[in-house]
Symmetry: D3
Subunit: 238 residues, 6 copies
Amino acid sequence: MRPNNRANNEPRAIKITRNYTKHAEGSVLVEFGDTKVLCTASVDESVPRFLKGQGQGWVTAEYGMLPRSTHSRMQREAAKGKQGGRTMEIQRLIARSLRAMVDLEALGERSITLDCDVIQADGGTRTASITGACVALTDAIHTLVENGTLKTNPIKGLVAAISVGIVDGTPVCDLEYIEDSAAETDMNVVMLEDGRMIEVQGTAEGEPFSHEELLTLLDLAKQGCEHIFVAQREALNC
Amino acid sequence: MRPNNRANNEPRAIKITRNYTKHAEGSVLVEFGDTKVLCTASVDESVPRFLKGQGQGWVTAEYGMLPRSTHSRMQREAAKGKQGGRTMEIQRLIARSLRAMVDLEALGERSITLDCDVIQADGGTRTASITGACVALTDAIHTLVENGTLKTNPIKGLVAAISVGIVDGTPVCDLEYIEDSAAETDMNVVMLEDGRMIEVQGTAEGEPFSHEELLTLLDLAKQGCEHIFVAQREALNC
Amino acid sequence: MRPNNRANNEPRAIKITRNYTKHAEGSVLVEFGDTKVLCTASVDESVPRFLKGQGQGWVTAEYGMLPRSTHSRMQREAAKGKQGGRTMEIQRLIARSLRAMVDLEALGERSITLDCDVIQADGGTRTASITGACVALTDAIHTLVENGTLKTNPIKGLVAAISVGIVDGTPVCDLEYIEDSAAETDMNVVMLEDGRMIEVQGTAEGEPFSHEELLTLLDLAKQGCEHIFVAQREALNC
Amino acid sequence: MRPNNRANNEPRAIKITRNYTKHAEGSVLVEFGDTKVLCTASVDESVPRFLKGQGQGWVTAEYGMLPRSTHSRMQREAAKGKQGGRTMEIQRLIARSLRAMVDLEALGERSITLDCDVIQADGGTRTASITGACVALTDAIHTLVENGTLKTNPIKGLVAAISVGIVDGTPVCDLEYIEDSAAETDMNVVMLEDGRMIEVQGTAEGEPFSHEELLTLLDLAKQGCEHIFVAQREALNC
Amino acid sequence: MRPNNRANNEPRAIKITRNYTKHAEGSVLVEFGDTKVLCTASVDESVPRFLKGQGQGWVTAEYGMLPRSTHSRMQREAAKGKQGGRTMEIQRLIARSLRAMVDLEALGERSITLDCDVIQADGGTRTASITGACVALTDAIHTLVENGTLKTNPIKGLVAAISVGIVDGTPVCDLEYIEDSAAETDMNVVMLEDGRMIEVQGTAEGEPFSHEELLTLLDLAKQGCEHIFVAQREALNC
Amino acid sequence: MRPNNRANNEPRAIKITRNYTKHAEGSVLVEFGDTKVLCTASVDESVPRFLKGQGQGWVTAEYGMLPRSTHSRMQREAAKGKQGGRTMEIQRLIARSLRAMVDLEALGERSITLDCDVIQADGGTRTASITGACVALTDAIHTLVENGTLKTNPIKGLVAAISVGIVDGTPVCDLEYIEDSAAETDMNVVMLEDGRMIEVQGTAEGEPFSHEELLTLLDLAKQGCEHIFVAQREALNC
């Protein structure tokens, strides 16, 4: 049995709290079970240098873990003086995923930065981050639409992300930490509402995975993302 | 009038939530009005090199602000590759303050790190951090006492910290951001329950302050700290 | 038509030159068309601290591009003072892929570092790196077997890697730079000789990709890897 | 008895040598007993970016210790690749203190940087730095007045700084190293000629300090600063 | 006897391969025996800030060693986060040497960067780098002349560099690694075709060297550089 | 005429003040005209890791310039976060030069660090540094001999360093800043008392230099070093 008697295709309880902090244009606390990530969206009326004068906007992301979000304390990256490879990999993934839901030309020459900071980690922080950042980004853009900065809404749809994996030979959806650390294969899938994919990142931590296993995992991911879209739409009342 | 009709000697509503996250030996969310700081205490069964073999423990602290805890987004220190001078100054202050409440010899050769991460900033983040870290540290040490690691309790008492300052010529207690940014003088006081002081840091941002003004500020700080001790004792049921 | 009239499922000419430099235990120049990467394997009779005393070895990787391996000159990472996110992501991928071909316990308490340095870039540098590093690692381990350091050969099989993608709506295998920069979807697959997978990393750069497109890409990747295994075996005379 | 039979309220011999080096607009060697700090003031006809176009000037400071200014050799911060927290704290203090003596609008859009480099350390380097930098800054500004760059003198008055503390239960003024390292409480006070204060930083290194002790220390600091103002005025012939 | 029976005044076989990679304006693989360095010249239509608007160009250089170009693996400077002192010293030497062969005013406001990356090291990497970079720079400038960017050729002549030294009491030319590591004195000479010198850097690693030994070494260097000029002219067909 | 009517072979007034600061085992202020460098020698009873257990000692050096030692203010290297190439080059030169005067085996397993910090710069800071560090190192070693730590004196002799160069076509000795910045050729020579050389570093900043010019410069350097040895012996009373 999985922890908490979850079915193999059952994600953890997903909770999305909007307006969690007061300064950001979008601020969302997303919870996948015990994993809790604060996702804020900050609007900046400029674009990075490589985009200056090209009539389009930009969406980027940064990711961090509070030092004691994890079981044993991690060294603070600000104190170490650099972000590790895992951090960089995750924030690049979040940024690519979020850009897929926005028409950057319709956004105009402005940037939105998604900060995803893990308050408590229990597996799946990157997929929770994408899921929560999607809602924070939506809120930030709605603000721009409502205050007339944007004439048209540049949002193309929602994105959701879920981890799936093979644990003790069994494919399961939304791994928590204890499963993740024992998984033979770990895969993160980022999906649009129509089922098309933005990212598929499958890694064999132990045993390599077969084509058939890959298909099973993709199917579980699709089911998981459908749960997430429901939670996102409920949170956004749409 | 002050914002929210506060009296000049009245601190903001203080809220202390213990066990806010699940991994740390002590985990406290402290709120001074809209200022919210997550303070965790992490126990490590070793000491820094300069203390090895000296039969005493250590208490240290790190401080950070989430990038969008502030009104406009601050650059992430992990991305910049270094902690700024303000961060270093604050985390050194927190550490010194917390060491004052612990008998380091009775703690034995182990370290406790207090991580104070600002979730939302509205003035007074360093004093809120000390106040919350005091409770997190108490919880962490209680754990060590309860599980038999420590035979005697090394805690000497509580510490509280409050900011006071002169705004538009009027001395006030517990400045929120809008007051802080307009203050002529800003002073942080860290106090023990018996009224003795661990730190006094007064800075004239605009006009220099007179001896009489300093006395008035110290009196306001004493009143403010008494409020905080009540809140700490309630949170700790002691 | 593709550049050089390649068929959609046809990889570029693959050339593997062993013993390219004289100091390393394994030294391979791998060429995928105009992409040229020097892959060296260096044996070190120790393991990283987190593995000390656990009776197993380690395989790691570092990746770099010579500043003018690319069309316009890139800034040297050593001069910038840090490795970028893309570099970190790639070297982590190479390391995971190579570890999959080695029985780390049979390797004993020693480390092998794969350095993959791009001499000339024309798309697919990470998949060429994995392909070449596989041969360099094999050579390094053969040395350890031949000189009696290892009693049993810890190699479990070869790994190959290929990029596939959708360019102008058409799925193609082994994208060169001009195709890569125009691709809607880009996917890297790392495979074992039995067809099972170690890594699948698919990214929609433009249009999201459907389940059917993913299946087509996986099929192209399998064909591509089979070509690579032939080239590796020829180079290794096995 | 104190070292050298000093009375408790007696500062060390204070010596201020102007024009100590030849390139800087202001160059002062300040000595508080065996503590020797070279303070230079450098004028730059521009302001930091955050002040551009606001019609005001800026005063900033940097602090450093020569590696063997101390009893045992300290690691060079330039070699370590970063300034430590203590350095940052001190240079921020020096800068704030010096800004208090200048009318920044009257200074116009130019910057003055005070470099305080400790040649020999024996306690009180930060207070000696402020004291010496005050004279160097005065010299630099006089140059600007004399050569007609400034029409009016933006100097509002002198600043002096002194350390006071409680050593073996006794409050004393201007601690030298052997006293400083044994002090229960250490306090630095920065004062204007009219007795008003710019900074008060009191820290209990051992025992907390009472309100009465704080008053005694403030009184000692006032007496000490009066000595310093005399020395500054003599050095400046004013 | 020297390794490979070389005469004391005999340089190793020198091989210069132009157009070694395809992207750079100049790309040369230079070999001094087993020492192999890839030298590329990259043209940039701008100059560093300190030269803006002064009507002249700039030539600069960067140097690196692949981690396993050496007998045992060196740590990658990009991973360490900084370039070492030896690297900086060498790249400054290369840049100064190359600037001596170009009329910077005739080059116009553009920069050429020489990247010298050591593929395989066996002594003399800095002199090989200068020798190869001279050819790469010549090729890059010819391109600018041929495409009409430059009206006149700013090249003043060739530069060659050779190491000489005293090994076991005997002065020899072009030390390979085994000689270099045993040399009492090591000297690098950079010369123009007319025999005048740009750089002489002699270092006594063991025994100091006398005036007479210095004269002998200079004579050997002159003979060595004459060999190199022949190889450079052959490679350039001039 | 040269500045101050110096003859072409005449060094500036050289002044060596021992015991300039009180903490270091050797502390020397060396002045070559207006160039002033504080050189301290610090003894450490350990050796760098690469020398552990080899029964020999080590001598190393660090170099720095105070920010306003120069005509216009230089950025502080500690604030920039790294030492520049020029600094690294100079400190490596100082260290090599000083090691040449010590029998490292006779020194035993201990290190001496020479810190050379430029108080005021007017050309020739590296040669003044070597000259002053030689005296500071001698003092530090005498202390070890006198207190019985060392049974035999490991000093082999004095080292002196001087700059020579060609200014406006004329070879001159000991260039001050105004000459140095106009020199066509600049050469630094480090010499032992018997006239043998440890370092010769000649650089053509403008015109290349001929063999004859090199001989003239070496002769000037020899004369200059003889002056310096006299000054060193006077300072050391030997």
